[in-house]
C-alpha cells in the first residue's frame, strides 16, 4: 500500500518550507522515525522524519524548492506490501498519476490562498532564518507587491463582480492590489487599475496573448529565504541610516613584505595569512579609540548603545548569497587565531553550516570585495551597526616618495558610516588610525595587547 506523506505544519501556522537536503533516494528502504529531508521554515530548520516504514517510491521537489504545507514530500510503499515491486517502479519514470498529486494545491488546514493587498499579509518576524546575515532583524514587513511574476494559478481574494469585470477587460486579476478587507479586490480596484493602464506595461493585456509566449521570454524563479532576508535588511539599512562614504588608499609595502615573511615561517604549520586578518585586527584596535563607531543609535529611546566588545562581522560571498559571520572579540585575538577563524567561517558559510550563533552580535562589519574585484565601493551599512569598511583590490601603482616616483603597493579602503551617529571628522580620525596600522604593521604589534 502506498502512503503519500505531505509536508506538515511543524511550527504553528507555517505556510511553506524550503528543501535544504534530502537524506533518502528513490528506491531506498526507510524505517519510521528515520530522517527524510531537512527543511528550512520561518520558525526552524529541522529534519523531517518518516512516518512510515517502507520504501521510497518518489521524492517530490529538489534542494532549494519551496514546498507548501500540505503538498506531497515523498510517497512511501509501506513495509511488507509489494516492496520489491515498489523498488522496481521507483526506478522508472514517475507515473502520470503521481504528477497530479504534486500539482494538487490548497489542501490542509493552512491552505495556499494568497492575499492581494500589502496590509493583509502578516509577515513572520526575523525568526528562523538560519542563514540570515542579520538575525537581529526586526519584523520588517515584507513588501508583497503583486507583479507579473505571480503565476496565474495563484488564488486571490476578490468579489465576484470584480472577477467578472476583470475578465471582461482582459485584466489578470493577480496583478491588482486589493483595498477591501484582508486585501480583497473590489470592483473599484479593477476600475482604477484599468484607468491607470498600469497593466499595459507589466502584463499581456488581452486574453489572446498566450502565457506560453511570455514563459519563453522570462524565467521566473521563487525568491530564496536568504535572498528575501538580504533584500529586507538592505532596505532597512538604506531607509534608516544616513549613509555617508569616505575612501582612501594606503601604501602597504611594509605589510606586503611582512606578510610574505610571516607566511614563509608559517609554511610548515600549513597556515597562509591573507591580508584580511591584518585589516580585522587594525579595525578592532582602532574601534577601541573610537567608540562611536562601535555602537548602535537608538533614536526612539533617545540613547546610544555602546558595545564593550569588538565583534567584527565578515561579509562572505556564497552561492546562495551574502552571509555575515562574526569574529568575536577580535581585539583580544592574535592574528593567527583570527586567520584560523576566518578560514573556518568561510568554509562553514560555503557549506551552509553557519548557525545563528555564528552570526549574531556583530558590532562592525568588514567586506573584502577586492578579493573578487573592484577598487573603491560604497558599501551598505550592516544596520543597526554604525560602520562598514570595505577593502578593495591591492594594486601596484606609482607613488611619490620624497621627490621620486616609486612602485607602491596600494590598498584601497572604502568606508560607509551612519551620519546620524558620527560626523566626518570622527570618521576621518578613525580611518587615519586604521590606515596607520596597515601602513606600518609594527604599530599593530605595539598595540596588540590582550590574550592569545
Amino acid at each position: 500500500m502506498r502512503y503519500m506523506f505531505k509536508f506538515p505544519d511543524i511550527g504553528e501556522g507555517l505556510e511553506e518550507g524550503k528543501i535544504i537536503q534530502w537524506y533518502v533516494e528513490n528506491g531506498q528502504s526507510i524505517s519510521s522515525g528515520d530522517p527524510l529531508v531537512k527543511m528550512e521554515t520561518d520558525k526552524v530548520v529541522t529534519d523531517i522524519p518518516s512516518p512510515k516504514t517502507g520504501v521510497i517510491v518518489q521524492r517530490f521537489g529538489n534542494v532549494g524548492d519551496t514546498i507548501h504545507v500540505g503538498s506531497a514530500l515523498v510517497e512511501i510503499e509501506m513495509e511488507g506490501i509489494a516492496g520489491a515491486e515498489a523498488i522496481a517502479e521507483a526506478r522508472t519514470e514517475i507515473p502520470a498519476a503521481h504528477k497530479e498529486v504534486v500539482e494538487e494545491k490548497g489542501f490542509g488546514v493552512v491552505g495556499t490562498i494568497e492575499v492581494a493587498g500589502d496590509g493583509a499579509y502578516l509577515p513572520s518576524s526575523g525568526e528562523g532564518l538560519g542563514a540570515a546575515p542579520m538575525p537581529t532583524a526586526a519584523p520588517a514587513p515584507i513588501p508583497h507587491t503583486p507583479s507579473d511574476s505571480l503565476p496565474s494559478s495563484v488564488k486571490v481574494l476578490a468579489t465576484p463582480v470584480a472577477r467578472a469585470i476583470a475578465k471582461e477587460l482582459g485584466i489578470q486579476i493577480q496583478q491588482v492590489k486589493g483595498s477591501g478587507p484582508a486585501g480583497r479586490i473590489t470592483r473599484k480596484d479593477i476600475e482604477q487599475y484599468h484607468s491607470s493602464k498600469a497593466y499595459l506595461s507589466t502584463a499581456p493585456s488581452t486574453p489572446a496573448s498566450p502565457q506560453t509566449e511570455q514563459a519563453e521570454r522570462l524565467t521566473i524563479k521563487p525568491l530564496s529565504m536568504i535572498r528575501k532576508t538580504i533584500a529586507r535588511n538592505m532596505i532597512r539599512s538604506k531607509q534608516n541610516a544616513a549613509h555617508m562614504s569616505v575612501m582612501d588608499e594606503v601604501e602597504v609595502s611594509a605589510l606586503v613584505e611582512g606578510r610574505a615573511r610571516l607566511n614563509q615561517s608559517l609554511q610548515e604549520k600549513g597556515i597562509k595569512l591573507s591580508y584580511l586578518p591584518f585589516v580585522v585586527k587594525a579595525v578592532a584596535m582602532a574601534l577601541k579609540n573610537h567608540p562611536d563607531l562601535n555602537a548602535e543609535l537608538d533614536l526612539e529611546g533617545d540613547r546610544v548603545i555602546y558595545k564593550n566588545y569588538y565583534n567584527i562581522g565578515i561579509a562572505v560571498d556564497t552561492e546562495d548569497g551574502l552571509v555575515v559571520p562574526v569574529i568575536r572579540d577580535a581585539d583580544k585575538k592574535s592574528l593567527l587565531r583570527i586567520a584560523t577563524e576566518l578560514a573556518e567561517i568561510s568554509v562553514k558559510a560555503r557549506e551552509r553550516k553557519l548557525t545563528t550563533a555564528d552570526m549574531k552580535d556583530g558590532s562592525f562589519t568588514i567586506t573584502s570585495f577586492g578579493s573578487i574585484g573592484g577598487y573603491f565601493a560604497v558599501p551598505v551599512i550592516n544596520y543597526p551597526q554604525v560602520g562598514i569598511l570595505g577593502v578593495g583590490k591591492l594594486t601596484q601603482k606609482p607613488v611619490v616618495a620624497g621627490n621620486e616616483i616609486k612602485i607602491g603597493n596600494l590598498l584601497p579602503i572604502s568606508m560607509s558610516v551612519d551620519h546620524r551617529m558620527v560626523d566626518g571628522g570622527e570618521v576621518g580620525r578613525f580611518l587615519n588610525e586604521v590606515l596607520a596600522y596597515l601602513q606600518d604593521p609594527l604599530l599593530l604589534m605595539v598595540n596588540l595587547g590582550g590574550e592569545n
Binding site: F5, K6, F7, P8, D9, I10, G11, E12, S32, G33, K43, V44, V45, T46, D47, I48, P49, S50, P51, E127, G128, G130, P135, T355, T356, A357, K360
Partner: protein, 367 residues
C-alpha cells in the same frame, strides 16, 4: 539524606546549592546515604531512559505532522523521575507542562499524553491516574489551583501533599506570588517545585529577576526554601522526600528551586540557537542528569551501559504502540461544542447546531 540541619546549612541567601554528586556521578557529601534501595535506583534510571526516549519520539511524531506543538523535556528529567519516586497516590500533582516523567509515574498512560498533544481533550482524562490536574498552559495559574487543593485537603483533614510545578518564567508572574502568599498564610501542605531551566522561552533568567536565585523568593513569604541541583537525581530525591515530610509535619508550604537547563527547544516551534550560545549548551551537556546517574550506578556496579541499547529498542516498540493507540482514538465530534455548554440546549444553540449539521450534510459531504 536531607534533614532540618541540612536545610539550615543551605540557605538561599548564601546562594548555596544542595548537590550530592559531581558532574561525574561521584558522591561529594561525606557519609551520605540515599533513602532509596538499589532496585529503586536502577528503576529510576530506567524510568529516566524511558522518559528521554518517549520525549525524542514525541518530537519525531510532531515533525512527521502527526502531533501538534510539543514541549521537549531533555535535560530536566532528573526532577521528574525524582518527583515520581516521592509523590504518593494520595498526593496531588499539579503540572505546568514539562514534567513528562512525573506524569508517567503518577499513572498517566503515554497514549493519553500523545492524545493530548494531538489536540484531543480526552488526553487529559488520565484514566489510571488519580489526583493529577491537566496541563496548564497559562503560566503559573496552576499554582493557585495547587494552593486551593491543599486548602481543601486541610479542611477535610487528609494527610497528603500537593506538588505544584512551575518554571523560572512562572516566577515572574503574579500568580506565583499570590500562590506562595496564600499557601503561607493558610498553612497548607504545598511543595512548590520551580524548574529553573534558565529561560522563559527566549528570555534568560538574568533578564527576569535581580534575585541571585529563585529559592530566595520563598523567604519573603516565610516559606522554607532550598536551592538544589536539578540535574542531580540523588539530590533531587533527597530534597523532594524531605519536602513531602516537612509539609505534612509542619503543615506549611515548601519551595524547591531545581536548577537545571532545558537542553532542547522551548517547544517544537522554537529555535534556541537564536538566543543562546553553543558554549553554554556544551557546558550544560556535561552536567546532563542521565549521564550523571548512569556514572553513579556504574560505579556502584548496579548498571552495565551495554544493556541500554536493547532496553531502549524495547521502549521504542512500546512507545510506537502507544502512539498507534492515540492515533486510533476516535476524533471528537464538532457537535460536542454545542453539547456540553448547558444541561439543556438553548434555542439559539440548537439553531446553530442545525445550521452546522445542514452544512455538513450538503457541502461537508464532499470533503
Amino acid at each position: 539524606m536531607f534533614d532540618l540541619q541540612t536545610l539550615d546549612k543551605y540557605k538561599p541567601i548564601d546562594d548555596k546549592m544542595y548537590q550530592v554528586m559531581d558532574k561525574d556521578g561521584k558522591v561529594i557529601i561525606k557519609n551520605w546515604k540515599t533513602g532509596l534501595s538499589e532496585d529503586d535506583l536502577v528503576q529510576a534510571y530506567k524510568d529516566l531512559l524511558f522518559e528521554r526516549t518517549a520525549d525524542q519520539m514525541a518530537i519525531s511524531y510532531q515533525r512527521q505532522g502527526r502531533m501538534f506543538t510539543y514541549p521537549p523535556n531533555l535535560g530536566q528529567e532528573a526532577i521528574h523521575i525524582a518527583s515520581g519516586k516521592v509523590i504518593k497516590a494520595e498526593d496531588w500533582l499539579v503540572p505546568a507542562f514539562r514534567e513528562l516523567g512525573a506524569w508517567l509515574a503518577k499513572g498517566v498512560s503515554l497514549w493519553e499524553i500523545f492524545l493530548y498533544f494531538k489536540g484531543h481533550e480526552d488526553g487529559s482524562k488520565f484514566l489510571n491516574a488519580a489526583r493529577m490536574l491537566p496541563v496548564s498552559v497559562p503560566i503559573a495559574s496552576q499554582l493557585l489551583h495547587a494552593v486551593g487543593l491543599a486548602y481543601a485537603m486541610k479542611y477535610k483533614g487528609e494527610e497528603a501533599a500537593v506538588f505544584g510545578y512551575v518554571g523560572d518564567g512562572g516566577t515572574s508572574e503574579g500568580d506565583f506570588h499570590e500562590a506562595l502568599n496564600f499557601a503561607a498564610v493558610w498553612d497548607v501542605p504545598v511543595v512548590f517545585v520551580v524548574q529553573n531551566n534558565q529561560f522563559a522561552i527566549s528570555v534568560p533568567l538574568k533578564m527576569q529577576t535581580r534575585s541571585k536565585n529563585l529559592a530566595l523568593k520563598g523567604l519573603a513569604y516565610d516559606v522554607d526554601s532550598v536551592l538544589v541541583d536539578g540535574n542531580d537525581f540523588l539530590a533531587m530525591h533527597d530534597v523532594l522526600a524531605f519536602a513531602r515530610e516537612h509539609v505534612l509535619k509542619k503543615k506549611r508550604p515548601f519551595l524547591i528551586e531545581a536548577r537545571t537547563y532545558r537542553r532542547g527547544a522551548h517547544t517544537t516551534s522554537d529555535d534556541p540557537t537564536k538566543y543562546r550560545s553553543k558554549e553554554e549548551e556544551e557546558h550544560w551537556a556535561e552536567l546532563d542528569p542521565a549521564a550523571r546517574l548512569q556514572s553513579y550506578l556504574v560505579s556502584k556496579k548496579l548498571w552495565d551501559p551495554k544493556d541500554e541499547e536493547a532496553l531502549i529498542a524495547g521502549y521504542k516498540k512500546f512507545i510506537d504502540s502507544e502512539f498507534d493507540k492515540a492515533e486510533a482514538y476516535p476524533d471528537y465530534k464538532l457537535e460536542d461544542v454545542f453539547g456540553f455548554m448547558y444541561q439543556e440546549m438553548p434555542v439559539e444553540l440548537k439553531r446553530q447546531m442545525n445550521n452546522y449539521q445542514n452544512f455538513m450534510n450538503l457541502e461537508g459531504a464532499q470533503k
